[in-house]
């Protein structure tokens, strides 16, 4: 299918991008341009260019940036680079002032990894940090000079077709000698509201003593969110010191620090992503379920003292919202690494 260029903006010659961007902003007498980061979206092929442009348009409402969208078609011939530019503008919540960010879209055809890296790096706003969302399988070897320049590598492990392979390649990129680079898994952020709700429930004094006594965990997830569910299980295991014992298709067995058996069951659910969790000990249980038609979790807590219900924010699972949350600084990196290490044991 031919590429629909309309959403990509004004077509420009690759070696004329800077000049054309300048012309674009020169006509902006109100000086509405703002930027505090480079946000690069790397995808393969041309199918997702339109959807990614829409995502960038939403993203820049909260993150003023220079956005660069790259569609990489290494097998195409002849080798060439096509480029488009556009501005995304919106009114701030403050009211009057209009803020604009710029997007450069690049279609790289027939280029090597190094060639794509050069095309990208020649268009960065050089004083600003580089955040790149890698929407394709990671390269076999991190030979591209790009990796030395990345400040934050964003990916979504939910989309990994071969999780074990992707994890190994990711480790190679992380070990490639850029100490500044942090990794951000959108799939981890997808579990954020759930983890917060679970943690808050176990803050309740009647439930907190049950943490070391847990013996069952059930996670309900949509068919495409198995890795999200496993990441959540890995988080439990990492934080509570569970040791992996063995696993079958939908059941995973751990040993608690006391040596007791703990069984995890993954259950399919028609709802989006991970829609519910049940945690049990001998005497108590916590059932957390995303309530239909709302953005909340309903927690039902049963203890020998009685049953109570309470709501928690369910988080926003829309991709742009997850991306924005992921770009918020915080200390979650260490906890993610611990969970990711256990995830390796759980994925095929």
């Amino acid at each position: 299918m031919p590429l629909d260029e309309t959403p990509l903006g004004l077509p420009v010659a690759f070696d004329n991008i800077s000049k054309q961007l300048k012309a674009l902003w020169d006509s902006d007498t109100d000086r509405t341009r703002a930027s505090r980061l480079n946000f690069v979206v790397y995808c393969q092929g041309t199918d997702s260019l339109k959807a990614n442009t829409e995502l960038i348009s939403r993203f820049v409402r909260t993150h003023a940036c220079r956005a660069i969208l790259i569609g990489d078609c290494p097998a195409a011939q002849p080798a060439k680079v096509s480029a488009w530019i556009q501005a995304h503008c919106h009114l701030t919540k403050a009211g009057a002032k209009e803020i604009c960010s710029e997007q450069i879209t690049l279609l790289a055809e027939g280029l090597s990894e190094e060639g794509v890296a050069n095309v990208l790096m020649s268009n960065l706003d050089y004083d600003l940090p580089l955040n790149i969302w890698w929407q394709a399988p990671f390269p076999t070897l991190p030979t591209s000079p790009l990796w030395a320049r990345v400040d934050r590598l964003i990916f979504d492990s939910q989309s990994w077709e071969n999780p074990s392979q992707e994890k190994q390649r990711l480790d190679l990129i992380r070990d490639s000698g850029n100490p500044r680079m942090s990794v951000a898994d959108i799939n981890w952020t997808r579990t954020m509201a759930l983890r917060q709700a679970i943690a808050q429930c176990f803050d309740m004094p009647q439930l907190l003593p049950e943490l070391p006594l847990l013996n069952r965990l059930e996670v309900r997830h949509s068919p495409d969110a198995r890795l999200t569910a496993l990441l959540l299980v890995a988080w439990f295991a990492a934080q509570l010191g569970w040791m992996f014992d063995h696993a079958s298709q939908d059941e995973i067995c751990f040993r608690t620090p006391k040596g007791d058996a703990l069984v995890v069951t993954l259950l399919h659910s028609p709802n989006d992503s991970v829609s519910g969790v049940t945690v049990r000990s001998l005497e108590s249980s916590l059932i957390l379920e995303r309530t239909k038609g709302s953005n909340l979790f309903l927690a039902t807590i049963k203890t020998p003292a009685g049953t109570s219900e309470t709501h928690f924010p369910g988080g926003n699972l829309e991709t742009t919202a997850l991306l924005c949350e992921e770009l918020t600084p915080g200390p979650r990196h260490r906890v993610y690494q611990k969970a990711a290490a256990i995830l390796e044991l759980l994925i095929p």
């Binding site: 909260t62 003023a64 701030t92 803020i99 003593p209 943490l211 709501h311 924010p313």
Partner: protein, 514 residues
């Protein structure tokens, strides 16, 4: 169930937030039928809940004189929330939140009211597992503090067991001079330890106020210049177009100096001028702030006359509307000697700030609303580009505290063209546009901090004492000296009296126009 766990034994909370998470607790608001509760405190607590940061078992109890049921209190708060919450109102969240809001009607001096409050809180502890953690918010006039504190102590509500905590948040004004503040501190300290006393100053909860420390100590380009060698002077302005509204009696006993300078502006000045703290703990930061307040130059009555201007607004026009003069306001004495405007020049007598004048002005019925700090750097030597007769003008770094929180820097730049013409240009950072999402309200941050036990943004007793020592010199010169400086006047809607302009003109400077 099993024995009570320690307060820090929930490993699932690790990494969920970059700040200490609050513990489940009972929040009790004294003066719950006041404006602050409806406009600020409940919207702040609701928004903390909506953001997922309020522990799910936190209960809020309003304590006030008027008889009211839980339901009617919840209903009133719900109405107010729709108006004042920055995030609006979600029915599901409000339903959960309001089910944990209670009302306790009692006179502040009635022991029975506190006995029944204690029983109610104990029951909530058992029912919800709030573990005996209590946060008392005194949203009442200072005349009520002593009675409430004494009753809390008599009812044993300040006592805790098994690692639980009981904290008190005290609203300004904290005393009306050093002696009354000292007496008040003594009363508070008999009931709550200093570590459990949180003297709130909502200015410190604002993003830009917190950003002062970040800008100074997280950037290497500013700190080397942050001293008398490079800074010419500092201007701090807090202007508001409102008059005293319904607060006449309060304002009559306070005035601009006590209302704004002793607390808000002194705290801001401290963050701006303190030495780098050894770490970011509450006491390290407050130790450094205290050194600044102690180094503020104390003024004799004669120095007050030369360095401080007080004034009252006369009738005028604000925002296109005719407004009354201060003495004609409701419940204000026609012979009032209370200042609605104060401007002064002060110095910090330490190595870093030797000889740098700091000009502060605060006033009501000004043309617009705005609080900002402007750092004027020294001009470049009078050669090369600065050799022109008019001079280039200084670099100015401005922190806008409110509204439109942000930072700007004025720099000199060559104007395009064959001629050598130099013009100032402004680099401007706005929180709302750069970060896209609205900043939390100051009270949200401060309530979260108090629930988490972080006192960094609250004033410590010795800071309050030292600030009053500075203020008392001025108040003494105005009210106890045989030859006090006269009360100046300015038309409502103007930028203050001529005398304030003269104060700077004497040093060859002018006030900034906001």
């Amino acid at each position: 169930m099993n024995s009570t766990p320690s307060q820090s034994s929930n490993p699932l909370k690790e990494g969920l937030s970059s700040r200490p998470l609050p513990r489940p607790c009972n929040v009790v608001i004294f003066g719950a039928s006041g404006d602050l509760t409806y406009r600020k405190l409940i919207p702040a607590l609701y928004n903390i809940e909506a953001d997922g940061d309020l522990p799910a078992t936190t209960h809020i109890t309003g304590f006030a004189r008027r008889p009211k049921s839980d339901e009617s209190f919840q209903h009133e708060l719900g109405d107010a929330l729709s108006k004042f919450s920055r995030s609006g109102r979600s029915e599901e969240i409000w339903k959960d939140f309001s089910s944990r809001v209670h009302y306790h009607a009692s006179e502040f001096g009635n022991p029975e009211g506190y006995r029944t409050l204690a029983a109610r809180l104990d029951a909530l502890d058992k029912e919800s597992g709030t573990a005996g953690n209590r946060l008392f918010y005194l949203s009442v006039g200072p005349s009520e503090f002593e009675g409430i504190l004494a009753q809390l102590a008599d009812a044993g509500l300040n006592k805790t067991t098994d690692g639980a905590w009981a904290r008190v948040i005290v609203e300004k004004p904290f005393g009306r001079d050093r002696n009354t503040a000292h007496a008040l501190n003594e009363k508070v300290s008999k009931v709550f330890a200093e570590k459990d006393t949180y003297r709130i100053d909502h200015y410190l909860g604002k993003e830009t106020a917190q950003n002062i420390m970040v800008l100074r100590f997280a950037n290497s380009i500013f700190e080397p210049l942050w001293n008398h060698r490079y800074i010419d002077h500092i201007q701090i302005t807090a202007a508001e177009p409102m008059g005293v509204e319904a607060r006449g009696p309060y304002y009559e006993s306070s005035g601009a100096l006590r209302d704004m300078v002793q607390n808000h502006l002194t705290q801001i000045l401290c963050l701006l001028t303190m030495e780098p703290p050894a770490d970011l703990s509450a006491d390290s930061v407050r130790d450094e702030k205290l050194k600044v307040v102690r180094a503020l130059r104390k003024m004799s009555p004669e120095q007050v006359a030369r360095n401080v201007v007080r004034a009252q607004y006369a009738a005028g026009v604000v925002g296109g509307n005719d407004v009354l003069g201060y003495k004609s306001e409701e419940r204000v004495s026609p012979q009032s000697e209370t200042e609605t405007y104060v401007a002064y020049r002060t110095f910090i007598d330490n190595w870093r700030w030797d000889g740098v004048p700091i000009y502060v002005r605060v006033g009501k019925r000004m043309p617009k609303h705005g609080t900002e700090i402007a750092i004027y750097f020294k001009e470049t030597p009078g050669v090369l580009f600065n050799a022109q007769q008019a001079g280039l003008g200084p670099n100015v770094l401005v922190f806008r505290i409110q509204p439109d929180e942000g930072v700007s820097l004025l720099i000199q730049s060559k104007r395009p063209g064959a001629q050598l013409a130099i013009e100032p240009v402004k680099m401007d950072f706005h929180y709302k546009t750069s970060f896209g999402k609205p900043s939390p309200e100051a009270y949200e941050r401060l309530l979260l901090d108090a629930m988490s036990g972080d006192a960094t943004l609250f004033a410590r007793r010795d800071e309050v004492d030292a600030a009053w020592t500075f203020i008392d010199c001025i108040e003494h010169a105005w009210h106890n000296h045989p030859n006090p400086a006269p009360m100046a006047s300015y038309p409502a809607g103007s930028w203050g009296p001529k005398e304030a302009d003269d104060l700077l003109a004497a040093d060859g400077r002018v006030w900034r126009r906001l």
